[in-house]
Subunit: 328 residues, 2 copies
């Protein structure tokens, strides 16, 4: 599909692209470049590519597809390095979680002969680094592309086919619209999760250890996305400020109203909201974007339970590795 | 262990107790009572107990263990029915998510010969009803008991052994302290999740459908606990108001500070918070209260993906039923 794919940055997303590309034979040559020698060595040990270099300009030479997989805050300096080395006719894309800022930073630096098609695969886990990736990460996940109106249709079709071959559904949209949609689907949920986990991290030690102990009652759900890569998320909030503040305003208005309902003991208002919210989850499951299994399909009573935590009789329980759910 | 267990209410928790009791042989007889005939019939079809009745007073006759598993808001009327029928020496417990209010409601109505030991298993899923239960639900989960200072130690030991046999770790604490700890570990997370899902439910239809489509980028995590039982959660916020408002105050203060950091572009403050919050998740995993698997162990690229959503080449991908994670 491509002669040479250059991946600049090889964390969770970059390494998953490398694995899927190899598995599906989507590029004859995969060149990997990253800033830290340690990370590059890890990628080499994992056998993620064909060539490895600390010099991003070297990686992009003769590449017909270049994908930036670094934190968004590094794009400016990466582009200064690679711009002179980009091959005419190459597609330049990325996987950053914000798109308006990316267009603003990249566009002035991209040679006229290169097709700039920013991208954002809506996929990931809370783990980071080259070893966190896996080739199925993009299967049945959306990948949003935000090409400008003047971009070559053939280049867009080639990049669309590349993501499609990795299992993604591809949608093109305006960069500003992308940032607004992602502010509510991703950035505000992360901000809220970081905030509540931060509130707990600030509690006095005694209370904090109780919160950790009893976290299965709801809190632990929030800690997953609050364990996401700190630098990546710092850059997202620095570069999608307006959409985040707009959506945070709506969230805060709604929270004030809900707080008042709790204060005055307005049972019908509480029950009404809690009933409406169930329908949203059903829609997400129906859309194929979430598992229908109870508790995200979390393992219950897995083998990982330390023996000391179980009473003597527990091994006789019909312990299930996976499961939970209404048919148990 | 007990001659007769009476379960008043047979939803997710009640039915899980019934299943675990049967599996482990913890009671010679399990009597099930619930207010709705439809739910009672469902429990009967599932074979959850030995006897079934709409009359709670009949269920508790000669029972040496009675556990209230209804929403907390129903406790007053249930107690009026069952108080005259409670056997001398019986243990009366419950599974409600708030405990100070439960003590205040139940204590004046409990005959002097009955041992009142309120309880709260910190376990559950977002699914409700008799068919949602499963016997491993309590394995390696905490069960908090909040007996008053004057309660018989033998009765406490018997109830502790009962929960231990179902796989739980049991801890006794003061009812008011329980409510404070649960406000931050459970009630505020649910309130926040209900709120953000509510914000989305109020968006115009076009935007809402996009949020659902792209929900895998973070939002869907919040929809799980926002799909919990509406009546149960209404009652929790009506009966743990003070602790919830206190913890919500802290959350709001922190969110204002975070909002300001986004507004002024304070990168170091954002990165600092996002780094500290990672440690909290690691603590929870170390404490055995969460899976270490990426993405909660959510299935990636599961067989449930509709064929229409996948490109033609997808079946060739090494699709995994369970997994994702750093070793893939």
């Amino acid at each position: 599909m491509f002669d040479k794919l250059a991946l600049i940055g090889i964390g969770l997303i970059g390494s998953s692209i490398a694995r899927a590309t190899r598995l599906k034979g989507l590029a004859k040559h995969v060149a990997i470049s990253t800033r830290k020698l340690e990370t590059l060595d890890e990628a080499r040990t994992l056998g993620l590519g064909d060539t490895y270099t600390l010099d991003a300009a070297e990686a992009v030479e003769a590449a017909d597809l270049v994908i930036l997989c670094t934190p968004v805050g590094a794009y400016g300096s990466v582009m200064e390095q690679i711009a002179p080395a980009l091959a005419p006719g190459a597609i330049l894309s990325d996987v950053g979680s914000v798109k308006r800022h990316v267009v603003d930073v990249l566009k002035p630096l991209v040679p006229a002969s290169v097709h700039l098609i920013p991208g954002h695969p809506l996929a990931g886990t809370e783990h980071s680094g080259p070893s966190a990736g896996f080739p199925e990460l993009f299967v049945n996940r959306w990948c949003v592309l935000t090409p400008g109106p003047d971009v070559d249709a053939v280049a867009i079709a080639r990049l669309t086919a590349f993501w499609g071959a990795m299992g993604s559904n591809v949608e093109c949209m305006d960069a500003t619209h992308h940032d607004m949609v992602l502010a509510i689907t991703s950035h505000i949920p992360h901000l809220i999760a970081y905030n509540i986990v931060g509130t707990v991290a600030d509690l006095e030690a005694d209370t904090q250890s109780e919160v950790i102990k009893f976290s299965a009652s709801g809190f632990r759900d929030f800690t997953r996305i609050a364990a996401s890569d700190p630098v990546m998320w710092r850059d997202i909030f620095l570069t999608n400020r307006d959409a985040v503040l707009e959506m945070l305003g709506r969230f805060n208005e709604d929270l004030s109203r809900l707080q008042r309902a709790v204060r005055v003991g307005d049972g019908p208002a509480l029950e009404g909201l809690f009933t409406r919210t169930r329908a949203v989850r059903r829609s997400i499951i129906t859309a194929g974007q979430e598992t229908a299994q109870a508790d995200f399909g979390r393992p219950h009573a897995s083998a990982k339970v330390p023996a000391s935590a179980l009473p003597g009789t527990a091994p006789e329980l019909g312990i299930r590795e996976h499961g939970g759910g209404e048919d148990a």
